[in-house]
Amino acid sequence: MNTNPDEANLALWLDDELEGAELASFEAWTASQPEHLAAREETRRWRKLISGAIPQSEEPPFPDFFNSRIAQGIREQTPALVLPEKKTAFWKSWLMPMAACAGMVFAFWIGAKSETRSIASQITEFDVAGAPRAIPVEQIIYTPENGVNAELFASDLSSPMVIVLSGMAAIPDTMDFSATTYIPREREFNSTADFDSSPAEVTN
């Protein structure tokens, strides 16, 4: 199809899109062109036929839901507002770590102190007339032999701690304890023990 200005104007005229001076000019020219007048009339009838058969507008199913889905889609696709990050003050950069460290030290000190107090309170609760007495201590004592039980006794007034073993076999009198002890020979002792360390006997 030739789309030079005349052809284009003819197409516009056939579809009733020309206006003003151009329309007047074409009307004057087509007055003597019956085939063009008929063509325009046919174009008008064609448009009326098509537009009459196919609706220009058709409501979508569930129109309210249609709109709400659009609003939801817009919300979902709109990026969330990102607040600018606040600049940390200079003093906070060193004060906050120090405060955190101080807090940890304080918490450790409080923890140590509270543990001491709890033992003392247990001692006070079971103490009678200032006498040494056993303190139940929740400790697990490992015994290598089966059937041997161990009980731990401690005192608040004296430092010794006693472990009583029950279920062990009696120790025979013939047992040589010296064999279980290491005694350095070239060392002098200020001990009162019956132990002769004179050189004469050694060289015997």
Partner: protein, 220 residues
């Protein structure tokens, strides 16, 4: 709802900020008033715009793809895209024409995607282009008009069946021109095409439809 642009509206307003509140507005001007409000982030104004134009957009898309469910989804997508593109809308064209352009792109995106997904299963008939004698007359002949007694629903089915046999470009130009009533210039804007191309497509599309509906003309 965030403002889609954050920029000042391109619609001129009165000194008190009102937009033609006292003067009765045409649909065209009322669209611009609502667009100006929507550009400022007024979701209710945009909802009103959706309500005004959803029927035309849905009908257009449905006639293009012939699937109601997909047309429903694509129509919504058109309005969501239009919202995000509102900052770029200028009052140089009608809002409806601008929507048709977005709808045009959405339909062709859908067609391309569907063509890829179906991988050959797509009915090639909708893309078939039967050549028409270029020497034929530019308008349907008067003796081939269908009988006026044909029921509208029956006529609609026959016309839609004939439209389905057109290429997407020819079908779209007929729908925009003869159904939606857009001018050549508006169709060229909506289809991102030239005026001459639109005229040529409409010429061939009408000829093809005339040929396809010829039996119907002659039987009545």
């Amino acid at each position: 709802m965030n403002n889609p642009n954050g920029e000042p509206s391109k619609i001129e307003q009165g000194p008190d900020g009102s937009i033609g509140a006292d003067v009765p507005l045409s649909d065209h001007e009322d669209d611009f008033r609502l667009v100006a409000l929507a550009q400022k982030g007024d979701m209710r104004a945009y909802d009103e715009l959706v309500t005004r134009h959803r029927g035309k957009i849905f009908a257009m898309i449905r006639n293009m793809i012939h699937q109601e469910a997909d047309a429903w989804d694509i129509s919504q997508d058109v309005f969501i895209k239009a919202w995000h593109a509102l900052p770029r809308f200028e009052a140089k064209a009608r809002f409806s024409t601008w929507l048709y352009r977005i709808a045009h792109n959405a339909v062709y995106d859908w067609t391309r995607k569907r063509k890829i997904e179906s991988a050959g299963e797509l009915n090639d008939e909708i893309f078939e282009r039967e050549r028409i004698d270029s020497a034929s007359f530019t308008t349907p002949s008067g003796g081939e008009m269908p009988d006026q007694s044909m029921s509208q629903s029956e006529l609609r089915q026959k016309i839609q069946a004939a439209l389905n046999k057109l290429s997407p470009e020819h079908r779209e130009v007929v729908l925009l021109k003869d159904v939606q009533g857009l001018s050549y210039k508006e169709i060229a804007d909506a289809m991102s095409s030239t005026l001459g191309t639109v005229m040529s497509r409409l010429y061939y599309a009408r000829q093809k439809l005339q040929t396809l509906l010829k039996d119907e003309y002659e039987s009545r």
